[in-house]
Assembly symmetry: none
DNA sequence: TCAAAAAATCACCCAATGGGGTATTGTATC
DNA sequence: GATACAATACCCCATTGGGTGATTTTTTGA
């Protein structure tokens, strides 16, 4: 009967691929319904195999696992994706999480962990290896999360100052800003000083960052 | 000898409080070193009990657990904080994570899970209950927040460069950095240039921002 | 093991930036 | 009319950023 969890494998290493297939097909309750060595034909692969869960390797030739995850998530949102990688790379992990992965395990996890994780994502859970959880926590505590502020802060920039700020955002130097705004170099500097005071910043890059993030200028 | 994990409890419910104390003191390897029914005297409480791990309830009269977590984290960053709550409220979880919690368990978890989690945070891990992990994942996938994703966590900074970057983060100018690092002003500048190239930034403030956000240096 | 690469050190030049002050003019606003 | 502020402009000076080039030591790789 069809009570088995259908799992599709995306994995470029043949040894790992075969091992995973053997484990899945050798365990009651799991079926390996598709095997892909790369992400190039991901759409056909998914349509053909109709998986419940995709076991996705990040490092693959052609499209990488993160891109394929994003695409599968966009096109087949009901399919759960379990990322597996040897890498413990923060950047990759966050990209994968943002791409819509449902869980994250490390390749050196033992087979029974794989099966547990597959079962967990299938049942709506979010299996995450301890080291990944730690990275996620660090992400929150390191204040990398910025709440989208619609328009709470008003820095009272004058029209002219907004204009100058816009020119700064565009990367013009003081001389160029002076030319474009038909004022002297020194006046540009005066405006910039005022802008910095109003924005509570102390450098061009900070001002530009704030301007872009909060749609000033 | 003193190999036991010192745990301080912040919990307003007396029954739960007493139960936790009994469990901790009744288990080898754990000591309950402090019990607080609210967060009002958190600073005195922490100074007196000197805990390794704080078991923090979110719902407390006076200061809530999230505020206390923030304060403890600011003042005693070496103390690990394990949040425990009955609530499954995304907003609260998110706030707690940002406040600097090291782990997150649910109140209806069995005692052995509590002990495991305490042990895990004590050893630098990040115990997170499955449902919290799921919510964290949701934060990444449902664009509720703007995430400034690390743009390449390994910038290959040398030890010396990290040292210089740390001094920059601390706000020292080149002259001071030179003095503190026992090198010449010009060498500091050379290091800074290399750091900028590696981080793909062009100013002190950008470099410092990146360093803080991504825990470089 | 030897050569190449990378890291660490220092120096000089020059342009751009940031912070402080001062000053004049016009325009509101009270 | 006084006061405030925006916009304009100039001065001085310290700091920063970018380029080039060089020597020494350490590390790495072939």
């Amino acid at each position: 009967m069809g009570m088995e969890i259908r799992v599709a494998i995306f994995e470029d290493n043949k040894l790992v691929r075969d091992a995973l297939e053997a484990i899945l097909n050798g365990t009651p309750g799991y079926t390996c319904c598709g095997i892909s060595a790369d992400g190039i034909h991901w759409e056909d692969d998914i349509k053909r195999s109709k998986p419940d869960v995709v076991l996705m390797d990040i490092e693959m030739p052609g499209l990488n696992g993160i891109e394929v995850t994003q695409h599968i998530n966009d096109m087949f949102p009901e399919v759960k994706i379990l990322i597996q990688t040897v890498f413990n790379d923060s950047e990759k992990i966050f990209q994968a999480l943002c791409a819509g992965a449902s869980g994250y395990i490390l390749k050196n996890d033992p087979p029974h962990k794989y099966l547990e994780a597959i079962n967990e994502v299938y049942n709506g859970g979010a299996p995450i290896s301890s080291s990944v959880a730690k990275k996620m926590l660090g992400f929150f505590t390191n204040k990398n999360v910025v709440l989208t502020v619609p328009g709470g802060t008003d820095y009272q920039l004058s029209d002219r100052e907004k204009e100058i700020l816009r020119l700064m955002v565009d990367g013009n130097n003081y001389k160029t800003i002076a030319d474009k705004a038909f004022i002297s170099y020194e006046t540009v500097r005066t405006h910039v000083k005022h802008i910095y005071k109003k924005l509570h910043v102390a450098s061009r890059s900070e001002a530009v960052l704030k301007a872009i993030q909060q749609d000033l200028s």
